[in-house]
């Protein structure tokens, strides 16, 4: 039995899908003015400024924390630079109750939801106030209260999870959806295909947001797939798809707003391909000069999504030079002061080594922990972070 109603032909006709040319949705030009036939989405001043502040916060946080990593204060960092509009524009189009399941470069979405600089810092330094209890590398944020699923390093695993999470939301009838972010490289993983197919078959209210930023570490998109980007794959799963200028905050906002309607009101999963560029290195451990030119980067620097939004805000008289100066100064100061505080906080207690593996520590692990504490007590000088915590117990 086939589910495809297919026209019959009597000679071998191949098709390569070339007839499907997916356009790119844009609203805002780089000078902050709308394209001629474009109409700005319904976005009030308060929300627009909330978006803009989150973008600037993300940019400054990224700059300062990369510098902190270079100074040796931080072990590792990943920047969102260049992709702030793709991430924050989409997150802003959601209900704050919607679940976000991100890859690792979406700190902008968290900043938009209201994660404080202090909360960012506690995770980055893995101190006793880190929600993740110092267990994961920097940038693996999570927030229960902001509906932001804790980041997991393995690529694409969050994509089928997002489909499952959203299916659960649908069954609860909460009128909520899940958005999941991933790069164009992660879209090569099996989990991506598994997720899109399952979401389409089960009509799940989920938005798949692919940040096509041109590179998977050093591998350019042209070596990642032969097709016209990631978007055409949606046809194979019978899913709504849109390609958006990922540096265009208004287009990202409106596209995601419409995608959310399809997902929540019609149980239609949507794929959004946000075309952007990873202006920074993959991570603090990466050096792009080995695989791409400064000239290429310069072209994309001209398309800065934050500047583009700022020019639009200024054209609306919602933002001024003074506002900008004040925000920049305040953010830089807050980041620096907060970093100093977070760095001084003590590490998580030794007990956090063995808690949360299960809901309760099983006997064999409790025994290993007692042995460890006894060992630390015999060698306290070798374990300055935990010698104090090892005093109690067997």
């Amino acid at each position: 039995m086939t589910t495809t109603k297919s026209k019959v032909v009597y000679s071998p006709v191949f098709t390569d899908g070339a007839e499907f040319r997916i356009p790119t949705f844009k609203l805002l030009k780089q000078d902050g003015k709308l394209y001629k036939s474009a109409k700005a989405p319904d976005l009030d001043k308060d929300k627009a400024l909330r978006i803009y502040r989150a973008m600037v916060t993300t940019r400054i946080l990224d700059e300062r924390m990369l510098a902190a990593q270079r100074q040796g204060r931080l072990s590792f960092y990943m920047q969102c630079t260049g992709e702030e509009a793709a991430v924050i524009g989409s997150a802003a189009a959601l209900d704050d109750g919607d679940m976000i399941m991100a890859q690792y470069r979406e700190q902008g979405a968290l900043a938009y939801r209201g994660f404080t600089i202090d909360e960012f810092m506690n995770q980055l330094f893995g101190n006793e106030m880190d929600y993740g209890k110092g267990r994961q590398m920097p940038v693996h944020y999570g927030s229960k209260k902001l509906n932001y699923m804790t980041i997991s390093s393995p690529l694409a695993t969050q994509i089928p999870q997002a489909a499952g999470y959203a299916y659960g939301q649908k069954l609860r009838g909460e009128g909520l959806c899940t958005i999941t972010y991933f790069g164009e490289g992660a879209a090569s993983e099996g989990d991506f295909h598994a997720a899109l197919n399952m979401a389409a078959v089960h009509r799940v209210p989920v938005i798949f947001l692919c940040r096509n930023n041109g590179y998977a570490i050093s591998t350019p998109a042209a070596e990642q797939f032969a097709a016209d980007g990631v978007a055409p794959r949606a046809y194979g799963y019978k899913m709504d798809v849109i390609r958006v200028d990922g540096n265009d905050i208004l287009a990202m906002y409106q596209a995601t707003q419409e995608a959310r309607k399809l997902a929540v009101e019609h149980n239609r999963p949507v794929l959004i391909e946000a075309m952007s560029y990873r202006l920074a290195a993959h991570s603090s451990s990466d050096d792009p000069s080995g695989y791409r030119s400064k000239d290429e980067e310069a072209v994309w620097r001209e398309k800065d999504p934050i500047l583009r939004m700022r020019l639009w805000l200024e054209s609306k008289k919602w933002w001024s030079e003074d506002d900008e100066k004040q925000l920049q100064e305040n953010m830089r100061r807050e980041v620096l002061e907060t970093m100093k505080r977070a760095q001084k906080r003590p590490p998580p207690p030794l007990e956090s080594l063995v808690s949360d593996v299960y809901d309760e520590v099983p006997p064999a692990l409790a025994e290993q922990f007692d042995k460890l504490k006894a060992h630390i007590r015999r060698n306290p000088d070798e374990y300055p972070k935990s010698a104090e915590h090892a005093k109690g117990g067997a």
């Binding site: 999570g142 997991s152 499952g164 999470y165 099983p362 006997p363």
Partner: protein, 325 residues
């Protein structure tokens, strides 16, 4: 009480869980209207609707990824992998995701509601890919629980415990026993403890330890050994992870001898872990080396299945050798 075979007991457990809590969902390949290739989910879709019991596309990594998301959301997914041999595409989702969800988030999020059911084991002429016992791969992963029942009564009570346990649990079902025999099974909800082995027969000369389908093999071997005048203590481990060291060690303190048997290959099998732990605990009490009676270090064969498997004859010989050492 009703007379049920193991499949009926499993089906009854799923039915019980779904009736009690609308957030319990059953899904997997062919699980829907057909009720699963072994019929473990028979009538569940008819009874609870397509939204709660459904077929999935053939994509194990997708099934478990989907289930992880559902569990994180607060649902109680019971995902079926059609054969344990086909669980490996989902290995990443199980090992890197299910097992680490709570730990990596500092307990902000967990997938404790997740249960993964999979038929395992040989003896059905299933060859390489319908016979494997993959428990040891997962036993190397802190954060998971692994449970294997030996009969219908155990199957229902342990499966309900697995579904309600606040940790992700793999439930391996000995498919050779699915229809092999019937036993008395309570009709109501009841839960057997996870992480606790059960001494199914007391004895004084030697301890025989196994789980799942191997318990039947052990019983046959023990019957023969007892005719020789050897008093055997038999333990069903029931939960592979985290396993009940105390019960096994206490038994070996008494008998001084231990035979561990499983179908999975010898090298890297879970018997090795048990042997290492028990020799540490019971070193001065041991009267003979801890014996492992297992499948051979080969892929699972077809025609020579009987030769490969640790059957009652091999277990019997190991009991004799242990006592006569």
């Amino acid at each position: 009480m009703s007379k049920m075979n193991m499949l009926q007991a499993i089906n009854n457990a799923l039915d019980t869980a779904m009736a009690e809590n609308e957030r319990v969902l059953c899904f997997g390949e062919d699980v829907g209207v057909f009720g699963g290739v072994f019929r473990a989910t028979s009538n569940l879709q008819q009874k609870y609707g397509k939204a709660r019991c459904f077929n999935t596309p053939l994509v194990e990594q997708g099934i478990i990824g989907f289930a992880n998301g559902l569990a994180a959301q607060g649902s109680v997914p019971v995902a079926e992998i059609q054969f344990a041999d086909y669980i490996f595409p989902a290995f990443d989702q199980i090992v890197n995701e299910s097992a680490k969800f709570r730990y990596r988030s500092g307990n902000l999020f967990d997938v404790g509601g997740l249960t993964i059911r999979a038929p395992y084991g040989g003896g059905i002429a299933g060859g390489l890919y319908h016979s494997q016992s993959p428990e040891a791969y997962f036993a190397h992963t802190p954060g998971l629980k692994i449970v294997v029942p030996r009969n219908p009564h155990q199957a229902k009570g342990l499966l309900l415990a697995a579904i309600h346990d606040p940790n992700p649990t793999l439930f391996f079902e000995p498919k050779r026993l699915y229809r092999a025999s019937v036993g008395e099974v309570p009709d109501e909800d009841y839960r057997l403890p996870l992480g606790e082995a059960e001494v199914t027969k007391e004895g004084t000369d030697v301890t025989i330890l196994g789980w799942g389908a191997q318990m039947e093999v052990i019983d046959q071997a023990v019957e023969r050994a007892e005719k020789d005048g050897i008093s055997c203590e038999v333990i069903d481990l029931r939960t592979i992870l985290p396993w009940d060291v105390e019960t096994v060690a206490n038994s070996v303190f008494k008998t001084g001898r231990l035979v561990v048997t499983h179908e999975a290959p010898l090298t890297g099998g879970f018997a090795g872990e048990i042997a290492a732990t028990i020799q540490e605990r019971c070193f001065l009490y041991l009267e003979s080396p801890i014996a492992r009676v297992t499948g051979m270090d080969t892929p699972f064969p077809l025609v020579l299945e009987k030769e490969h498997l640790p059957n009652h004859l091999k277990v019997y010989e190991a009991i004799r050798a242990s006592v006569e050492f």
